[in-house]
Each structure stands twice: as C-alpha cells, then as structure tokens.
C-alpha cells in the first residue's frame, strides 16, 4: 500500500485570466512532517496554498485528504477538513479581543456571548502550550503576538494540517527561534505542517522535505537532509546564481546628512523617534535595522519633509533642512523611496503608466501649463532600459507590472533626478532573488558615484552583506551603530529587541556625531 499522506494535491492547475499561476502541481505532506514550499515571488506558492484554504478553487486537478478525494469550495470546507492557514497578512479583526477573534469562528458554542469565553480561550491556549491574554485587543498586540494568536486560532478549530505563509518575514531572530520551537512541537504532536518561504537558511533549519515551485510549475520535492542551499537556489531560480552581495569600498566624503537630537511623534501622538543622532557620508550605505514599528517609517518621512519634527536638527551639507517643504528638500538632492507593505501604497500611482509616474516627479520643469509627455516617455524608456524593467511598453499602468518591476520603476525614477542622498525603505520587500540582486546593484552603483544611502531593511543577512554600517533602532532609540562586517545576527537581534544597548559604549565620543561635522559653530551653540 502506498504511503498515506495527510494532504495530497495532484496535477493542480489554476489560471487567472491569461496568467497561469499554477500548472500541473503535485504536492504531498505527511502527518508529523514539516514541508517547506520554496519558490520565488510569483512562483505560485500562495495561490497553491489558497486552494487548500478554500480561497480559490483549482481549475483542474484533485485534492486528497487522508487518501480520500475532496472538493474544497470555501474556507468553511477547509476548516471542516482540518486545514488551517496562517496568512502572511494576518486575518484578524483589529478591534476585537484575542478571545473574540477565536470565538467568532467557533461552531459548537451557544448564541449568547458570555464572560466565560475568555477563560475558555485561555484554557485552549494553555492546552496547546501558549500563553496569551484573551482580553487583549489585537491592535495592541506586537506582530509576534498576532502570529501566535493566529496559530492558536487554527489549532482551536481542530486543524490537523497547518499552513504558514512566510511566517518569519516580520519576526526578529529570537522570535523566529521561538516560532520554530513551536513548529517542532506541533510536528511531534502529529500535525502536518507546510511552511511557505523563500529564505533558504530557514528551509535547511526547519523542514524535513522541500517542494520547489518555479514560475507556477512544479520542479521537485527533495529531502532536506540530502540537499544544500546552492542546489535549492538553482532549482528555484532555474540557473546558477552567485549568492554573494558586493560591498564595494568607496572613498567616503564629509557627512552629507547629519541628524542631531531628533524627536518625532507618530500619528497617534506618541514618540516614534527619540533623541536620535546619526550621519551619512557620501559613498556609504547606512543600514537601519529594527522590528516593525520602531520608528523607521517616521524617520524616513521626516527626512523627506513629509512629517513635522518635534525637536532636533537635520543638516544637509551644512544647510538646515528642518521645516523645508518636500519639494525644497527634493531640490537639494535628497530622494526618498519607501516601499510599504502593499508595495504600491507610496510613491507611485498604480493605475497611471510608467511615463506618467515619471512625470509626477518632474512635471514642474516643463514650460507652461502643458505636460511634456515626450520627455516623460524618454525618461521612462531610459529607466526601462537601464534597470531592465520587464514591461510591454512605457505606457503600461504600473499596477500591471510585477512587484520587482514596480520597485525598479520607483527606484529608477528617484535615481533619475540625480540625488546625493537616497533614503530607501524596504526596496526589496517581497522581491525574489533575481530582482533583489538587481536592486542591490543599483544601490551599489549609486554608492560608487558618491551618493549617501540610508537603507531601511528587514533581512539582516542582506544588510550585513550590503551596508557599511548598521544603525539599530528599538522603540525609537538608537541602540548603537555597528560595522556591518564585524557584527553578528545575534548581536543585531539583541539590539533590535532592546536587550543590548551599545549606544553608550564610547562615552568620550558622543555616538552618532561625526568628527568632521559640517555643523557650524552657531548651530552648535543653539543646540
């Protein structure tokens, strides 16, 4: 008799219009096993899993659960078959308590809400080995707490198979370790676990087997113990690629941008950036690391002039830029590109073409009230050519491009203006390996040209390879600036969670203030 799988998908095909998202995919997972589903962005991992969670229906192919063929028409069916999915973007009701988020999907409970539901949910959590505050509202939770809640939620509905879509993307190193501990325990209890990821080190660490997808097609499934990162990459990308990121050494200039005693408040009015000092020289990449919501976004916005600052100074080449309009700051050569979680949220107008998005930045340079489309088109063509943007034409609406190409357009437009300081946040967010490396090359090229780059990132491995120095923020405070080639991931992780504070290490020399500062003496007296 053939081996019994908890879930088996055979020959699954799914198309969206003319786009084939999945084509003839086979996948199987056993009980008590962790299967990693590996693939680049757009390779169809999430689509495939959404067919198990009832969001999509396959066009053809069959799904077997415990050897029996089933049809999953809705999330309700999926729940019935014991499949639980923790989505990449959590599916939680923000204004509800933890308990209510679980309670709303419970079937066998009475129609009246009673106080004892909090106790009930707490007990369930304990049963699975978690500790949560059932009355805590989701909007007050940290990302890792939300993820824990999601896991408890699917477990409480009796899930036998648990799917996690990029669960580590938003976690710190320590939190990832904790999550992996939870997954291993669930595996021992006999759950089947599928984890979607594109991080190879995690695949090697946690999984028993790896299934690889490439551009919607099934490549192979291998035992993790019998493979290595290089081999997996080749399957995933389809060719050999160099996994090393260059860090060219460039002659550094005097500080281009200096920030002193900066205090910024966030939208809710609490302090987002707390007395921060730092500087960027030309020809260096300064990384900013920190867990989500530690003030990176507010810092970027303040530098670009989009957010008022509470206190402190920002000096660009010796000139004050506090209080200048975004346009004036732009004209000084400071450009910002911020890639938000939904990628299209900031910087580009999704339904406008590449040409029009180019014009958004420089329409003022044209003469008269009419827009100079010709020049916009020329700019667009140039960016498309130089950055190898894959697009049918320069008139294609930006939202129809894939994520990597959208980000290339955004970065390309910012570079086009010839800035001397680039502030970029999450430029490779959600990008596959190929596109990511293209972006790193773009940034390195700018660095070689003497541009100072502030790089807000989330992948510590990448930051340690690409950046010259890394500044770590925790709750808006600088935990220290370290040399990227001297630090370790563990050290950064501890700084990000505020356990390790290196900012006071050199008390004789104030942290974050350059020796050859361009602050003029009168500035200093004021400060």
């Amino acid at each position: 008799m053939a081996e019994q799988y908890a879930i088996e998908m055979r020959n699954i095909t799914k198309t969206f219009g003319s786009v084939v998202a999945n084509s003839g995919i086979n996948l199987a997972v056993k009980q008590g096993e962790i299967l990693a589903l590996l693939g680049e962005n757009g390779s169809g991992k999430t689509t495939l899993m959404n067919m198990l969670s009832g969001i999509y229906k396959p066009d053809s192919g069959s799904i077997f659960i415990d050897g029996k063929e089933v049809s999953i028409d809705s999330p309700e069916d999926s729940k019935k078959y014991g499949i639980g999915m923790v989505h990449q973007h959590f599916k939680l009701v923000e204004v509800f308590s933890a308990a209510d988020n679980i309670w709303m999907g419970q079937d066998k409970t009475g129609p009246i809400l009673k106080k004892n539901r909090f106790k009930y949910v707490e007990d369930i959590a304990h049963k699975f080995g978690f500790d949560i505050d059932p009355k805590k509202k989701v909007y007050n939770m940290a990302v890792s707490e939300k993820q824990t809640l999601e896991i408890i939620k699917v477990l409480s509905y009796g899930a036998k198979t648990i799917i996690l879509d990029e669960p580590t993307a938003v976690l710190t190193v320590q939190e990832i370790e904790k999550l992996f501990g939870v997954l291993r325990r669930m595996k021992e209890e006999g759950h089947a676990i599928i984890i979607i990821t594109h991080k190879l080190n995690e695949v090697m660490e946690i999984s028993d087997r790896v299934a690889i997808l490439r551009k919607g097609e099934y490549i192979t499934t291998v035992n993790t113990a019998e493979t290595n990162e290089q081999e997996l990459t080749e399957w995933m990308v389809g060719r050999k690629i160099d996994l090393n990121i260059d860090r060219p050494i460039v002659e550094k200039t005097r500080p281009l941008l200096e920030v002193r005693d900066l205090v910024i408040r966030n939208d809710e009015g609490s302090v987002a950036i707390d007395n921060v000092n730092f500087y960027i020289r030309g020809g260096e990449i300064l990384g900013v690391a920190g867990i989500a919501g530690c003030g990176q976004k507010e810092l970027c916005e303040a530098i670009a002039g989009l957010r008022p600052i509470e206190k402190g100074q920002m000096i660009h080449k010796g000139d004050n830029i506090v209080g200048l309009s975004p346009k004036a700051i732009l004209e000084k050569g400071i450009s910002m590109s911020f890639i938000p979680e939904d990628r299209l949220g900031m910087g580009l107008a999704p339904s406008m073409s590449i040409t029009e998005n180019m014009l958004l930045k420089n329409y003022r340079d044209g003469r008269g009230p009419l827009v100079d489309r010709k020049r916009g088109r020329a700019d667009a063509e140039q960016v498309i050519k130089e950055l190898e943007v894959v697009t049918p034409s320069s008139e294609t609406p930006v939202r129809r491009l894939s994520g990597g190409n959208v980000q290339k357009v955004l970065l390309g437009r910012e570079i086009k203006a010839g800035p001397n300081v680039i502030v970029t946040a999450y430029p490779v967010r959600g990008l596959d390996i190929n596109s990511s490396y293209a972006i790193y090359n773009i940034l390195n090229k700018q660095k070689l040209d003497g541009v100072g780059i502030l790089f807000v990132g989330e992948d510590l491995d990448v930051m340690m390879a690409l950046c010259d120095k890394i500044m770590v923020l925790c709750h808006g405070k600088v935990m220290g600036v370290v040399h990227a080639h001297k630090t370790t991931k563990e050290e950064l992780g501890l700084m990000m969670t505020g356990v390790l504070d290196l900012s006071e290490k050199h008390e004789d020399k104030p942290a974050g203030i350059a020796k050859d500062s361009l602050f003029e003496s009168n500035n200093r007296e004021e400060a």
């Binding site: 969670s53 969001i55 999330p75 729940k79 599916k91 939680l92 009701v93 923000e94 204004v95 939620k153």
Partner: protein, 330 residues
C-alpha cells in the same frame, strides 16, 4: 395652554415626531455594521411608507401595515444587497440610486391611486391603534410623565427594536460575526463565517426596520398625501445620526432625542415663546430655516469632534465600511 402643558406637549412631540429617525438610524446601523454603506435610507423609508400605509389601510390592520412596511423595506434592501454584494456595484452610487428609485415608486404609486380615486384613508379603528398608550405609574410623573411615557405602540416598538439590536450586536455570536464582517470580511471568511449570507440577511433586516419607520411617518401624517414626501429628509438625517450614535443602537435613542429637540423647536418654538415670553420670547424671531439646518450643523460638529478624538478601538466605524468584499481578489 398653561405653561406646564406647553412643556409637556413639547417633550411629547420630541418623541412623537422623531421616532422615525430612530427606525432609520437603527436600520442603517445594522446595515453598516455588515460593512455596507447604504445611502438609500430615504428611498427605503419611502417605499416602506407607501406600501405599509396602503396595505395597512386596505386590511384595516396595523400589524399588516407594519409587516408590509418591513417586507417592502427588506425587498428594497435585497435589491441593494444583490447589486453590491453579488454584483459588486459601487455602494455609494447604488444607495443614491435607490433613494431616487424609492421616491419614484412612492410618488408613482401614491399619485396613481389618488388620480384614480382609490387613495385609502385611515379607518377609526386604525387611528385608535395609533393612539397613545400610557404606561401606568411612569406616565403619572408630573411634566415629563405624559411627555415621555404616553405614546403610541410604534414608539415603544422602535425603542424595543433599538435596545434589542444593541443587545444583538454586542452580546450574541451573530452580532460578533456581523461586526467581524464589517471590520474585516476576509478574516471572517477565513474562519468559515458565511460572509455573503450574513450580509444579505442583515442588509434586508436593517432596511426592513427603516421601512417600519416610513410607515410610522405615514400614519403620523394621517395619510395625507401631497406634493412633498412623508419622509421629507428624515432618511438623510438618519444617515448622519448613525455617525452621531457612533454605530451604537442604544446611543441612537439619545441621538434621536437630541436631534428631535431641535427638530421640534421648529414646530413648537412659537408656542414656547408665547408661554414663556420673558426668557424664550426670542424663539419667535428665529427663522425656521435655521432649525431645519440645525441637525446638519450638529452632524458636522459631531463629525469634527469624533474625528479629533477618534482613538483606535473607540470608534464604532466598521473598518471595511463601503468596501465590497470579493474572496478571490488578489
């Protein structure tokens, strides 16, 4: 009229004239809690009014009138749900269309019946059914007793519906699920809640409640059909009251009386000025247009105040309000 009598009748009128606002508001809260913004309250109330009134008169039964008004409103809601939930039409446009459509039906049916001489009048027994019922003891309280606790059966029904819906939303699992849908339909869907069915049910329920409010207005106008619609903008005030009430049916009761106070000043300002010339005499000089504008001015102020103090978790605004939900959206 003596001074106490003027005040009592003023209070009485605040309730009597403005309860339709409560029906409209509570109905719209139920609809909005499902994440659907139905701007067609005015039209839905008009449809409930005309069909409730006609069927109630022909059957000579208030119960038939209430049921017909509810069903007419609910069917109008069904139309809204079919367009926005199933066909994914824009909610704002659909709501506005339904207002125009509802008023159109109202005048079409009403004028048609009048022109053919078949316009029904309220029978004496129906009038009796709409007469005041005094609550023992409470209605004996001086001044306010008769004003607050001696009303027709539809007033009590309206308050009862508001309190029930408050309890339903806050203390039942159906209410919890409905709120989940209004906040994050994808989250609700992912835990196996039937989003479509719940939206359909609650849109119809809410619109049915609005329909009863329309029927109330018809009865209160004694069925006198003329060039201006019975609803006369109450549906729009109800849309504003939803915000004032912060999406809570119990606060809607208070909101109704606050709005009702100014609304009633317009009608009763003259008699108040007459009864208390010393310190309310100036009321006679206030142009009635100001009173008509006041509910909207208050709404504007409330909007400003709520958006200033709008802390997360405090506002009852459903996060997904006005957004259509399509499961397979990428």
């Amino acid at each position: 009229m003596d001074k106490v009598g003027v005040i009592t009748s003023f209070i009485h009128n605040i309730v009597l004239l403005n309860i339709p606002l409560l029906y409209g508001t509570v109905g719209e809260i139920v609809v909005e809690k499902s994440g659907s913004l139905n701007l067609g309250v005015e039209g839905t109330m008009a449809v409930g009014a005309i069909f409730g009134y006609i069927c109630g008169c022909f059957a000579d039964s208030m119960v038939v009138g209430i049921l017909t008004a509810f069903i007419a409103g609910a069917l109008f809601g069904l139309l809204f749900a079919a367009l926005t939930v199933s066909l994914q039409a824009n909610q704002n446009i659909t709501g506005l269309t339904l207002t125009t459509f509802g008023l159109g039906i109202y005048f079409f049916v009403g004028n048609g019946l009048r022109a053919s001489g078949n316009w029904p009048t309220i029978s004496e027994s129906l009038k009796d059914g709409f007469s005041d019922i005094s609550i023992p003891l409470l209605s004996d309280i001086p001044i306010i007793g008769n004003g607050l606790f001696s009303h027709n059966v539809l007033v009590y029904l309206g308050i009862a519906i508001a309190i029930f819906m408050w309890w339903y939303l806050k203390h039942t699992k159906f209410g919890l699920r409905l709120r989940a849908i209004g906040e994050n339909p994808a989250a609700a869907d992912s835990v196996g809640i039937n989003v479509k069915r719940s939206k359909y049910l609650h849109i119809c329920l809410g619109c049915g409640i609005m329909g009863i409010g329309g029927y109330y207005m018809g009865l209160n106008m004694s069925g006198s059909f003329n060039a201006s619609c019975w609803i006369n903008g109450y549906g729009w005030i109800a849309v504003a009251l939803v915000i004032f009430a912060n999406w809570s049916p119990s606060v809607a009761i208070i909101g109704t009386f606050v709005f009702g106070f100014f609304n009633t000043l317009r009608v009763a300002g003259g008699s108040l000025a007459l009864a208390f010339p010393d310190f309310l005499g100036w009321l006679a000089d206030v142009p009635t247009q100001l009173y008509q504008a006041l509910p909207f001015i208050i709404t504007a102020i409330v909007l400003v105040v709520t958006s200033i103090k709008n802390k997360r978790g405090r506002s009852g605004l459903p996060a997904a309000l006005g957004l259509n939900y399509f499961r397979e959206e990428r």
